[in-house]
């Protein structure tokens, strides 16, 4: 019916706007039973670092009202293992593979990006500068604009892949962070990562997470995420990947209207393993009911 769902993220073209949020879709394999991966806009894998990491002790997750806290602590198999053991599976599919990565220092970011840049079968990089689960001093990558500019522009130098910077919502001014990422050379931004939260078990008097605090995700944070996407949209010209509490097509459309060019489903996958496909179908139905021929028309179309 001639509907155009395609999305441009820098040089990268997605066939449709439905992506997976890093850390919620593993390396794709587990969900391939529920979702025809070839139908996704792109797959974003669990955050990787140069070396494998064992992550935080359990308990690592706890449910909260309409949301969940996680403190996985960036457990991952490391870039080398990913390339050897996980990437071959993903290469079978025709969709872009986007690798989410992070480092403990600027030089680690650079090394990781350089290594990923050389690897065939990786189509874009998503820099996580915002994960709140790490120790003191680290969160500065995503909250101090000067440091953000530095780390993003250094990474920009070592990769010609589409570079997405994933922003932390735990800041006073998200649009400043968005602008900083744009100025430093990002091709796109992901908005938002998790809000830092905490839950206490009043029976034991102990935090419910071994890590004490964790990242809040799920429907509870959707209003904050939509607002941040809208603020970023008013500020930057690079495309925005919207995420935070998307579990239905209606949610996804809210993000498009607020200014997102693409969206990612995170916690929604846990609630419904087929969420991404249901959302894609729902977006199509909405567009045809509204007579919208091109998805690009929806981006930022909120009438304020």
């Amino acid at each position: 019916m001639g509907m155009n769902l395609s999305v441009d993220l820098g040089k990268l073209k997605l066939q449709n706007p439905v992506m997976t949020a890093s850390g919620t879709f593993g390396y794709g394999k587990e969900y391939s039973e529920f979702v025809d991966l070839n139908k996704l806009g792109a797959i974003v894998v669990k955050g990787l670092s140069l070396k494998p990491r064992q992550g935080n002790p359990p308990p690592r997750i706890v449910e909260t009202p309409a949301g969940m806290l996680n403190a996985i602590g960036l457990q991952n198999i490391g870039i080398d293992n990913f390339i050897k053991k996980k990437l071959p599976f993903l290469k079978q599919f025709h969709i872009p593979v986007i690798v989410n990565f992070f480092g403990d220092s600027i030089s680690e970011y650079i090394k990781a990006a350089g290594k990923l840049n050389e690897t065939k079968g990786i189509h874009a990089l998503e820099m996580n500068i915002s994960c709140p689960n790490k120790q003191e001093g680290w969160s500065i990558f995503g909250t101090d604009p000067k440091v953000t500019f530095k780390v993003v522009s250094e990474v920009r130098k070592v990769t010609d892949l589409t570079l997405i910077v994933k922003l932390s919502p735990n800041v006073t001014d998200i649009s400043l962070m968005a602008k900083t990422a744009e100025d430093a050379g990002a091709d796109a931004i992901s908005v938002i990562n998790t809000l830092t939260g905490m839950a206490i078990d009043i029976k034991t008097g102990k935090p419910k997470l071994a890590n004490i605090t964790g990242g809040l995700s799920g429907p509870a944070i959707k209003p904050v995420a939509v607002r941040m996407v809208w603020e970023c949209y008013k500020t930057v010209r690079i495309p925005i990947i919207g995420m935070g509490g998307i579990i239905s097509a209606e949610d996804a459309i809210e993000f498009f209207l607020a200014g997102a060019s693409a969206i990612a489903v995170g916690t929604g996958n846990f609630i419904n393993p087929e969420a991404t496909m249901d959302i894609l179908e729902g977006i199509k139905s909405y567009m045809s009911a509204k007579g919208v021929k091109s998805l690009k028309k929806l981006t930022g179309a909120v009438r304020c």
């Binding site: 850390g23 919620t24 879709f25 593993g26 587990e30 969900y31 039973e33 529920f34 669990k46 064992q54 992550g55 002790p57 359990p58 308990p59 690592r60 997750i61 706890v62 449910e63 009202p65 309409a66 949301g67 969940m68 996680n70 996985i72 457990q75 799920g218 429907p219 579990i247 916690t267 996958n269 846990f270 609630i271 419904n272 393993p273 087929e274």
Partner: protein, 258 residues
């Protein structure tokens, strides 16, 4: 086969104070669940509770299956109000199973509290003469499935914390007595256990002391149930492992209790 399916509640019976037996009729043929496997159930379409809840396969009825559960909080509270005809979203069967080798001479099953849910399915699968079941609970009122066990020809060794039925004491103490009295039992046997953490910790000590091998099914908070969120790990001698994927059944000796 895609393990996401809808199921109709055909029965949801209160069998003891806080305990219910749920019978589900899947809309499609599902993979046969093995003892140790579990299902993730949406108790509701509301966003609160948000996540699916994990429950062990308790009884496989050929096409339908049963879940034995206790009202522990909000999600199970809502589940207990589901009535015949209600629909639930389910993912499963998930996780690994109790690996029962043919060569094991005699098998000792140990269930504590709701641990009987999966242990029952294992007992049902095994020949009755091949195993001994130790079953403990806080009180007589919390002992479940006694009649069903009997009709399978199984006479469990029972202990209750308050002595209202069977031995008085915790089930691992009773097991210990048995082990000291029947030294033969020790080496030729495999333990298969499920129950609360203190019981499993005591069992681990016992297993180490008497050099017993075996398996236990663990629990952990879960989000995805599919191995992707890395939320449900437990510490093992080989590092963190996911309860939903490498488990819920682990070798007794591999678990590192903190």
């Amino acid at each position: 086969m895609n393990r996401l399916f809808k199921a109709t509640v055909t029965d949801n019976k209160q069998i003891k104070k806080d305990h219910y037996l749920l019978t589900l009729h899947p809309f499609k043929k599902i993979n046969r669940p093995e003892p140790g496997n579990f299902f993730m159930l949406s108790v509701d379409s509301s966003l609160d509770p948000l996540l699916k809840r994990p429950f062990s396969m308790h009884r496989w009825l050929g096409f339908d299956f049963q879940i034995l559960y206790r009202v522990a909080g909000k999600g199970t509270g809502i589940l207990s109000k589901r009535r015949p005809g209600d629909l639930l979203d389910v993912v499963g069967p998930l996780g690994n199973k109790f690996p029962v080798a043919k060569t094991h001479d005699k098998i000792i099953l140990i269930a504590g509290g709701l641990g009987i849910a999966p242990i029952f399915s294992l007992a049902e699968k095994l020949k009755k003469n091949k195993h001994l079941l130790f079953y403990g609970a806080m009180t007589k009122e919390e002992l479940l499935c006694i009649d069903e066990l009997k009709s399978l020809g199984i006479e469990p060794v029972i202990a209750t914390d308050d002595g209202t039925l069977g031995y008085k004491g915790v089930i691992t103490d009773i097991l210990k007595k048995f082990l000291t009295q029947n030294s033969k039992l020790k080496t030729q046997n495999y333990l298969y256990a499920c129950g609360p953490k203190p019981m499993l910790m005591a069992l681990s000590l016992l297993a180490r002391k008497y050099d017993l091998k075996g398996y236990m099914a663990l629990e952990q908070n879960m989000a995805c149930g599919l191995g992707t969120c890395l939320g449900c790990v437990v510490n093992t001698v080989d590092g963190y492992k996911r309860v939903c994927k490498e488990g819920p059944v682990f070798r007794i000796e591999e678990i590192v209790w903190e």
